[in-house]
Structure formats: structure tokens, C-alpha cells
Symmetry: C3
Subunit: 309 residues, 3 copies
Amino acid sequence: MKKVLFATTALVMTAGVAAAEVSLSGDGRMGIVYNGADWNFSSRARVTFTLSGTTDNGIEFGGSFRADQAGDSVLDNGAAYGSEGSVYVSGAFGKIEMGDAVSAPEALFGDLPEVGYTDLTSAGGLENDIPYLTGDGVTTLAGNPVVLYTYSTGPISIAASMSDGKLGSVNDQQEYAVAGAYTYENYTVGFGYEMLEDVGGVAGVDYTQGELAGVATFGDTSVKAYFAKGGKQNPVDQAFGLGVTSKFGATTVLGYVQKAEFTAGGDVTWYGLGASYDLGGGASIVGGISDDDLANTDPTADLGVKFKF
Amino acid sequence: MKKVLFATTALVMTAGVAAAEVSLSGDGRMGIVYNGADWNFSSRARVTFTLSGTTDNGIEFGGSFRADQAGDSVLDNGAAYGSEGSVYVSGAFGKIEMGDAVSAPEALFGDLPEVGYTDLTSAGGLENDIPYLTGDGVTTLAGNPVVLYTYSTGPISIAASMSDGKLGSVNDQQEYAVAGAYTYENYTVGFGYEMLEDVGGVAGVDYTQGELAGVATFGDTSVKAYFAKGGKQNPVDQAFGLGVTSKFGATTVLGYVQKAEFTAGGDVTWYGLGASYDLGGGASIVGGISDDDLANTDPTADLGVKFKF
Amino acid sequence: MKKVLFATTALVMTAGVAAAEVSLSGDGRMGIVYNGADWNFSSRARVTFTLSGTTDNGIEFGGSFRADQAGDSVLDNGAAYGSEGSVYVSGAFGKIEMGDAVSAPEALFGDLPEVGYTDLTSAGGLENDIPYLTGDGVTTLAGNPVVLYTYSTGPISIAASMSDGKLGSVNDQQEYAVAGAYTYENYTVGFGYEMLEDVGGVAGVDYTQGELAGVATFGDTSVKAYFAKGGKQNPVDQAFGLGVTSKFGATTVLGYVQKAEFTAGGDVTWYGLGASYDLGGGASIVGGISDDDLANTDPTADLGVKFKF
């Protein structure tokens, strides 16, 4: 990403102290999407604010949110109220992030590759998203921040995340998660464990989930695989998936397949395949197709251009 | 407009490749408005994000939206969802724009001059706005983008625009429009044709409209005139109008008059007169008055200052 | 505050004319808050746009609003509609500000010190906020701008503010306020008088309030005191308070106490104590505690970090 960085160094810097700064970046996309039934034009444009600074003794701090996440002072939502974006402090002790943070395992393993210029996610389906139990603003009430701690030393990365279980004094589900990863040459393996207590704010409804994940890189190809096993009360009994990203010059090909088995029955497999061609300067042509093995559903597909500013 | 342009050239430029950038500009205004019955204070302040970049083979891309159009990630609206602002790609083939784009004829002819520091538009009235059938986010459902294509070569400009007729899989009215313009010395003449099918998403309710427009420039004076003729099902049977802009040093005087004849009867004529005095540095004093020939309505008027940053 | 200032001087300046510009700054915070019953994580991140320019004859103009105050073009709110942020013109004649402006006395005297990293204000309580009758977007309908005039010469500052009493043609309460202050060496004394007519848009319900305020500075310690006396129809009969801010190197200690006596009975005293430690670079550790003398309420408290970018 070519960031538009507005260093204030020359204006406010004092000897030996890095200056606080606000930087801007942006992204956009346009093209056509087939939603499984109809073709639609689809476009968007976004701007991201990145805040950063350093204290006198070298602790870094900052935050980030998009203009559309800034919030509305009438709705009392968004980054101005902790429900979008996040802030952090970072130093030798690791990094502490608060806000709409991802959970500990998602911080270390991420999701499977996004295909298509729009990511091709549909309501209700997992598609390329690993079904983490916690984090990312999904599982807690709007405006209830999550705290994420991450630390790396040599080949080892660890992470822990939690919510506070209350929105003001209203009961909210409580989340905890831990994760660890070990990297040896081009191989990384890791585990995660997540607890979600009082789901929906109801005492006694508790979910747990364990995850194993691995990433291997061979030249310009990267492979990611995971296995997740849910606790007795979870809707998802187990899930597993595989994602591959491979670069050939300016072209990148991506694909994923994942299957979720539900406690209540009705397994679903999702799969997707996409390609991206880098036009240089921040633009690329991107297309993809995704589908599941449910009856009576068509694949979704898209083709368009993506921009980074 | 004095734009605040943050070129990232020095930071990210590589040999021969123009860098992607985000630029900021802004506008503001303050003053008093007479709405036909009461006097009000009226002010506003806005910021615009402009995104731009160039691919390795010279195709330009970008987009633009205001901070108040960025959208809200809870409401799922705004530029982040394609319902405000727009993105584009541009090259020797012309320019393709998607989002809250104007229709083809509006892209070539625009509207009659805005009078007053607030533009003095009231709910329901045309005032200085030419009654285009399509485009500009007015005629399609919120969030349903319009695609606009424009191309110029020598004295000829052409444009075409359309929507996709569906918001996801919900029926929406479908719009198509074409326009052309020819410029000879200080004279430009043009035509436009617009189709709006399934108005309000109802099959069989179709509007059409043809437009003729001309612009002539004499020294510091510019005159614009148009005539529009609606199809059989249109509420507007025909409309025509004239606008004049004339500069005298730092002072600009603007005026318009237009009349719409409705299929259901009840013709209305709107007219407005305004003046602007340039204070330099991006500020001007602007005032105006507008009225219609309907019984029992007072003129509206305003006087204030406008700012460009 | 270390502002990120993007001077466009080099890009657009013409001889002798200062250029219009848009500057960005930001703030953030994260920590824990005790709301009197439960502990919560609490964080936020915000960006502020500051617009400024100068006319050819030296009149300054500009405005300011935060990204979360920019407004939403669907909700028709925010700075784009005059209900958040403000714009101004400023010169030898003083400064005229329009928008979500504070009232005349608040412009000169402000509030008592904010304690805690979150300011520790709770719904319904005054805490450190002086109970001004008018201004600050509180007393008029959303979107109804307030005009504030301020002027300083030598030791004297004066201010006047008013609203227009109508939102469009809807009756709104009408506010007027005046204030003056005189500074002699390290002492400032001032008065304010506010009128709020047709409270809630109801004719005949009129509030008035007079205020006396004083500020004294002794070395690194500043003391602010006020007394407010309400008119016959006011809910608040009288109120008075004291705030102290004292710096010891990188540490600042702040405290306030204020009491409001209500016409309907039931006096309340609020008090708060806080401290801040400057980490340099725009970061500080801030904590505080606040309480009132009402039965059955616990104190609120917080501890966290604040950032300025």
C-alpha cells in the first residue's frame, strides 16, 4: 500500500523525540458482482486515518480507523466511542490494543484468502472466514471494546484477548482467548483457545473452541490450514479449511476450501477461487468465484478493479 | 479552490511512476437565510477526500467523497458502500465512473447557476436544477451505484450512463442515458436522452426525456439555455430554462429562470438572482434571492460568506 | 497538542497571500472505567479537521470539526449541516463564529477542570461542567446554529451569543447571552448573563441566569471559581463551584467541587480529583475519581492513557 504519510517532523520535532503524526491512506474498488441470482454494479471508496506517536522513553502509541468508522456524534457509535477501529501502546513488553480488536487466534492466524474484488462474503456463510468465536466486534455488544495483547520474541508469538463482560452495567457475553505460534524456517504452527461465556448476555450459555493452524511458504506459494473443535454447547461442532496463495509475476492466484460441521447437523463446505493482476501504482484487476455445497444455491462471482492510495 | 494537496512523490515515488495520493480540501459557509417565512442562521463546514493514482501503463484511477459522505459502518451507507461519492478509471478510452454519479446529460451540461450562499434550493422546487430524469443518486435506491462513461475528442464530448436495475436482488428502477455535445469557438450545443424504466421498481412505468442544451460565452459572460421534453408517462411534460453568469472584476452576477409544464397541469416558473464578491484567499461574500410564480409563497433569500480551503 | 499541519504554502501560495489550508490532528485514549457499579474497558480514537484561510485584506476565516462530527448525508446532521463544529471570520472587529458554538460566558470562563482520562461525566450530573443556560448545542434543537461574537482589547474581553429561535419555521427556544472579563496581572474577573426564552419551544417559559467568575494564577497553580444565580422560572436556583489545577514537573493535579441548589429542592454537591503524568510525545497517564453527595451512589473512577497526535 502506498501510504500518504504526513510526517510532522520538520514542524514540531524536538531533539531526539519522534513527533506524533496523522497519516492518510485510502482504497477503492469498482466492478460487477453476481450475487447468485442477479448482476450488480458495485463500488466503494474509503479513507483510513492512522495515528502514531512515541513517548520520551520510547513507548509507541497510536490508533487507526476509517472515515466511515469515525462514528457519528448523534448515534454515539464508531471509533469516537471505541466500537470501531482501535488504539494501542507498544514497547518491549509487547503491544496492547483496545477497541474493535480481533481475538488472539485471529491476530496470529488471520483468515483464509479473500477471493474476488469484493471479498465475496454473503450473509450467513463463512466463505473464507475462519469461524473464530470471539473478537472483531462480532461477539460483543456494539461499543463494547476488546483488549488484545500480542508479544513476539524470536520464533515465538503469543496473544491473549478478552472483553469486559459488561456494556456499562448491562450484561454482555464475556470473551477470553489465548493463542501461540512457533515459526521454524518457512513453517509456522500455532494453537488457539477461545471461551465465550454468557452468550447473548444469558448466564450459563458458554461456548469454547480450540484451534490448530499451520502456514507453510514455498517460494511464491503460501499454504494455510486450520482445524477447529467446538465445545458441547457450540453450534459449530468442528470446522477445518485450507487456503493457498500463489504469485506468478504480476498475477496472484488464491483459493480456499473449508467445511463446518454443526452440532444440529447440516454440514456445509465453502470454496472459492480468485485471481489478481497487479497493474502497478496501487491498482489491480481482481476477480473471483465462490460457492458452497448447499442445494439450490448458485455460485457468486465478481470482476473488477481494486485501488490502494 | 485552493486544494490542500499532499503529494507523496518524495516519499513513495519510484522511477517514472506517479504515486497514489490522498488530498484534502474543504469548504464552509455562514450567514442568514430567509426561507419564505422566517430568518435563520445557517452555517456548515465540510472536508473532501480526493484519491488519485496512475498504473504502470498510464491509466489514471481515483475517487472522491466528502467526510460527511464517508458513510457509517453501522448504517452501511455512504462512499464505503457505493451510495455516495464515486470512483473512476480514466485513459485514452475515456473515463468510467461508478457510484453516486450524475447522468450523462448532467455530466455534459450541468445545472443552471446556483444563487445565494446556500444555493437556495427548497424541498420540491426545481429552482436552478435542470429536471434530469436519471443519475445523481436521486432516482435509484440508496446504495445502488450508477455508471457514467464520458469521452472527449477535439470539439466533441459524449457521455452514457446506466444503473443496474437491481439493489442486490430487489427490483429497482433502471436508468439509461446518453448525451453529446459539440463545441465551436465559444458556442457549445448538445443533446441528451434519458430512459427510466420500472419507476419505483414497478414494471411498466417508464419515463423518457430528451434535452437540448446550449452554452455561449461572450467575454466574461456565459449564457446557458436548455429545453427538455418528457415522454407520455412523465410527470414533467416539458421544461425550459436560461441561466446567465457575468463577471465584473471581483464581482460575479448570476441569474436563472426556468419553467416546467406538468402533464397533470399546474405550470411553475422559478427564477433567481444572485451576486458574489471575491475577497481573495478562498473567501467570498455571496447573496441571492429566488422565487416561483405560485400563489401564496414568498421569495427565499440569503446573504453570507463562502469559504474554499 | 502536536498538530499535524499541512501548510500548502509551497504548493499554492501566491505573492503576499496566505493560502487556505486543511490541517489534521487527532486524539485517543484507552484504559479502565468504574461507572459506580461495574468496571469497563473504554477506548476511543478521533481525528479533527481544522480549516483556515485569509482574505486579501487580512480577514481570517476557517472552521473546525471532528471526523465523527462531519455528519451523515442521509441523516442530514453534523458539521455539513451546521449542527456540529463551527465556522468563523476574524479580524480587527473581533471574531464571529457560527455553528455548535458555546455561549458567551462559556467562551470566556470555560468549565471546571476535567478529571480522569475519560472526563468522568455521567448522565444527568453536572460534575465539572458549569451549568450554563445556553450554547454548546445543548439548548437549541439539533441543527440550529448559535452565533458567538468575541472581542479582546488589552485587559478586556467581551462576548455575546444568540440563536435564531427557529429551526426553519419550527419554533425553537431562543437564547441570548453576554459576558465580559477583565484581567489584571494574574487575576481575571468576569460576569455573564444568559436568557433562554420559550424553553422547549413553549411561549412564556423563560429562564435567565447571571454568573460571576474569577480565575487566579499563582506560579504553576490556577484557581477558578464561579457563582451562578438563576431567574424565577429556572430549575437551578443557584450554583457555585471551585476548580484547581496545579503542575509539579510532569505531573498535573486537578480537582473541583461544585454545588447546585434547585428551585424544586434537593441540593447536590459534585466533586472530583484527578492527576495526569506527561510521558512526552503527546501521551500521558491520567486517572481520576468523581462523586456526589447523593445517597446510594458510588464514586466513579478511571485510569488510562491519553494521546494527542
